[in-house]
Structures are given as C-alpha cells and as structure tokens.
C-alpha cells in the first residue's frame, strides 16, 4: 500500500544527526566520528545485518580525557577492597586461571543510542542507532571474585572504576555502582577479558571490562581497575547526577518538560533495528527486497519480530536467526516484493518473552535515553 508522495515526517527522523566523517582509529575499522577528545565513534548501520558485531566495528564512547592508551599487564591489577574480608589484587592471569571462565553473548548499548533523533533535540552525543554492539564475552564471574574476597555483612553497593583518570582533580572520575543484591543474584555479571575470541581492543576497555548483561552500557566500566564494596549507596556524579531517567513507568515525560523526580537508568527496553535496505533507497518494482536487521531487549529474550508495509495496519512475522541466548542480538530477515510503484514505509517491531514491544510514537526524556520507537525505512519503488 504505497503513498503517492514522499512522507513529510521523514524530515523529523533525519534530525540533527551529526553526519560525521568516517575515521580510522587504532584496532578499528572506519567508524563514524562524533567527537575526537574524548573519542566517541559510532558503528555504521550496515554492521547490524548480523548477530555478532566485529571488534573492529564496535562503537567507542568515553566520558573524560585523557583516556588510557597504554596498559602494561606486568603492573595492571584489578583491586577489590572496601567492605571485604580479604582485599584482592588480581593480575590478568589470576582472572583467567583462578576463576572458571564464563562465556556469554550480550548486547552493549549506550543509554543515548538514537539520541540524535530526539524531538525536541537534546544535548549530548548525537548518535544515530549505531551506539551498540553484540559480542561473545569471556570472563570471570563477578560473583566468584566477590566470594573470593568475602563480602562483609552490611555491604550495600559495589563501585567500579577504570584506568581513565581525569586530568584535573575538579573533574568527577568515571565511577559506576551496582547493588550487592544485583551482583549476588545475577551470575552473568562478568569481568570480561575476551571479546569475540580475542583480547579487548584498547578502545573497548583492554584488558578487562565489566559486562552487565541486559543493562545499558554506562555500567560496563572499561579498563576496570578497582572494585570497592560499600555499606551505603554511592553518590558519585555519574550515578547521582548523570544517566538519570524520569521516575515514571515509561521513563518518559511530555516532550520538552522537566521530570519531577529521576532515577538511574538500568535495563534496556525492546528494540528492532533495520540494517538494510537504507532509509531513502530506491528499489525496483516486482523485484524481491531483502530486509535484514537485529532485535534485542534487556534479557527476557526476543520471541518474535514483525514487519509491516502498510503503515502498521497489518503485521506479519519474519524469520529469526539462531538464538545465541537471551542477552544477544537476534538476527531477523524478510523478503518483500513491492507490487505497486510509489512511496513505501516499512516498519519492523520486536516482542520479548515478557510480552513487551515497542511504541509507535517515540517516547521523550531530557537525557535522550531509552529510545525504542518502532524503526522504519521509507523506500521509493519505481
């Protein structure tokens, strides 16, 4: 069911995306440059036609400068301290040999993925949808490490700090926290030292990073160097002031308004991304078009992906690729044959095991977080 004219609201989605140049960073393929210092590099959309994102294409996001560019494993240690019986200093070899290696495929998605599409616009990295990636991580279970250290009674939270240290003492160091309850209930939180069968690229957190499956990447601290167990809730800037979402069921407010109360962002919502065809593409009448992309959520697992070519009036299920676990990207694909010339809007939506799906209209919050509107591409059939 084609439109007779191009759709006006295509312009809204085009947004203010940076349209940054492609750049080549060490250990990386050509990525989209958002910022140089500290670096923010986006994965081009075409990489999301497959479940695993190659290391060299995996996006990069830092908060403070300078960032670590040199790590000597002879001196690097992961220190575990605070409210523990036995403080630890673990080398990379210790991490690999003293704890059972655990394998997990999980999506790492920036809280602000898709922020560039927010309307009204919000400040922050103007990401398109490429601030995400999916990899097979191998690491030590954080539970095993904390058990080895022995958490003392009264422990409430653990903080995670990496090698990135601000140049000036006035700049708040990037430190994140998780509750001890979360850490002891979830055996899948890892200190990962392997990514897709290789060591981590420097820009993705060499030699080890936290993996918090299902949760936004802000918790996946890179170049992890210190874990401190506290008897109270951590109040550092990056928890108490940044990465906050409205304290409402949707994490959203009326566009342009200020939420009355906020909470820390946590679990990812359901999304389906269309990698191909590109928005704005021209395709031939009566010739099959292959649609491909990935779907994911915060850990329930994707149960179905549907496709519509009639503005969402009717939906049909599409083919799903292999299941790499509930935290992984799930590939989807569909064949579509346009039967009439004109302008088409193709939409794809996912549903997870909890029955959660995606909104038809975008939700808004001042941080530009949680974007999960049903994605669409507009095509011209001629």
């Amino acid at each position: 069911m084609p439109f007779l004219h191009p759709l006006q609201d295509s312009a809204e989605r085009d947004a203010i995306l940076a349209g940054g140049p492609l750049v080549r960073y060490p250990e990386k393929a050509n990525l989209i440059l958002l910022t140089s210092r500290p670096p923010q590099l986006e994965t081009p959309l075409h990489y999301f036609d497959r479940a695993i994102t190659p290391n060299e294409a995996f996006y990069v996001r830092y908060h403070i400068f300078p960032i670590p560019t040199r790590v000597d494993l002879a001196t690097w240690r992961l220190r575990v301290g605070g409210l523990v019986e036995r403080p630890l200093e673990l080398s990379l070899d210790d991490l690999k040999t003293k704890f059972p290696p655990t394998r997990l495929v999980a999506v790492n998605q920036c809280s602000g993925n898709g922020r560039g599409y927010f309307e009204p616009h919000v400040f922050g990295g103007q990401w398109s949808n490429g601030a995400m990636g999916n990899a097979e991580w191998v690491g030590a279970r954080l539970q095993d490490i904390l058990r080895a250290a022995g958490i003392k009674p009264g422990a409430a939270e653990a903080t995670f700090n990496g090698l990135d240290e601000p140049a000036a003492p006035s700049v708040p160091d990037f430190v994140k926290s998780l509750t001890v309850q979360h850490l002891m209930e979830d055996p899948d939180v890892l200190v990962a030292y392997q990514m897709n069968g290789a060591e981590l690229p420097m820009l993705n957190g060499f030699p080890a990073r936290l993996v918090v499956p299902g949760w936004y990447a802000t918790y996946w601290v890179k170049h992890l160097s210190e874990i401190m167990v506290l008897d109270h809730a951590f109040e550092g800037f990056w928890m108490a002031k940044a990465y906050r979402i409205p304290d409402t069921p949707c994490g959203c407010v009326e566009p342009g308004s200020t939420p009355a109360r906020s909470v820390s962002i946590q679990r990812m919502n359901v999304r389906a991304i269309i990698a191909t065809p590109k928005n704005g593409a021209r395709v031939a009448l009566a010739r099959p078009v292959t649609l491909k992309g990935v779907a994911f959520d915060g850990g329930y697992g994707i149960t179905q992906v549907e496709f519509s070519d009639d503005r969402g009036a009717t939906w049909r299920r599409v083919e799903l690729g292999p299941d790499f676990g509930r935290y992984s990207f799930r590939e989807w694909s569909a064949l579509w044959i346009p039967k009439t010339p004109g302008y088409y809007r193709l939409m794809v939506r996912a549903t997870n095991r909890a029955g959660e799906s995606q909104p038809i209209e975008p939700l808004w919050n001042p941080g530009g977080y949680l974007r999960n509107v049903i994605e669409r591409v507009d095509l011209t059939v001629a």
Binding site: P6, L7, S10, A11, R13, D14, A15, I16, L17, A18, G19, G20, P21, V23, R24, Y25, P26, E27, L33, L34, T35, S36, R37, P38, P39, F65, I67, T69, R70, V71, D72, L73, A74, H121, V122, F123, Q126, A167, A168, P169, S170, V171, P172, E199, M202, L203, F206, P207, F237, K241, N279, G280, Y343, D378, T380
Partner: protein, 120 residues
C-alpha cells in the same frame, strides 16, 4: 665463507624467533589528532571558546550539538564550571555563551545528509 654465512643467518633467525617469542606485556595505541573539520565558526568570542572549552574536549562537542539558545548554552557552561571544574572566569563565560548562542543557535543546525532530501 658459505658455512659462515649459513651460521650467521641461522643465528639471526634464532634471534628473531626469540624476539617473537618474548611475550610483550604492553599494549599501546596512538590516538589521531582532533578532527580538523570540527573547526569553530569565526565570530567574536571564538578565541575564548578555543582557550577555555578546548582544554578538556575537542570542538566537535560544540559543533556537532543540535544548537541551543543562550539559556541552553548558559546551562551547559555552568555545568562545565560547577561540575567539571572549568577554570573559566565569569567575564569569559559571558563572552562564550554569547558566541555559542549566536553561532550555534537553535536554528543553526541543518543536516547536509538529509534523508528527506534524498527521497525527494
């Protein structure tokens, strides 16, 4: 002579093998310089922006924002001073906000990669 040469090359090969087997414990990368395309627009105050803002971050943090009015940029500047400890004087801050609001105002940003434009 031939034997000597063979011994020498064998020795050299052994040295090379040993070097390769010597496992380095260091991983190091070199970052490229700031993106030259993220040059600030000319205008009164641009020197202050370069001197103050670019201490901590590259200018693409400015030029790739959606643009904002004076109130929006003032809030951003205040955050840089109060949260991130930018050593910016009140006088410089005023000049910087005026520059940003006039050069990177709300309507300043137009995408040159308009998908809508490609559709038309």
């Amino acid at each position: 002579m031939k034997l000597a040469a063979a011994c020498l090359s064998l020795g050299l090969a052994l040295v090379l093998v040993n070097r390769a087997e010597e496992k380095t414990t260091v991983k190091e990368i070199k970052l490229p310089p700031d993106d030259a395309a993220a040059e600030l627009k000319p205008g009164p105050g641009v020197e202050a922006v370069r001197a103050q803002c670019a201490i901590c971050h590259s200018t693409d943090y400015i030029v790739r924002q959606p643009g904002g009015d004076a109130k929006r940029w003032e809030a951003e500047g205040k955050k840089m001073v109060t949260v991130f400890g930018a050593p910016t004087s009140d006088a410089d801050a005023k000049v910087i906000v005026e520059y940003l609001a006039s050069r990177y105002g709300p309507q300043a940003k137009k995408s040159s990669h308009s998908k809508a434009a490609r559709l038309r």
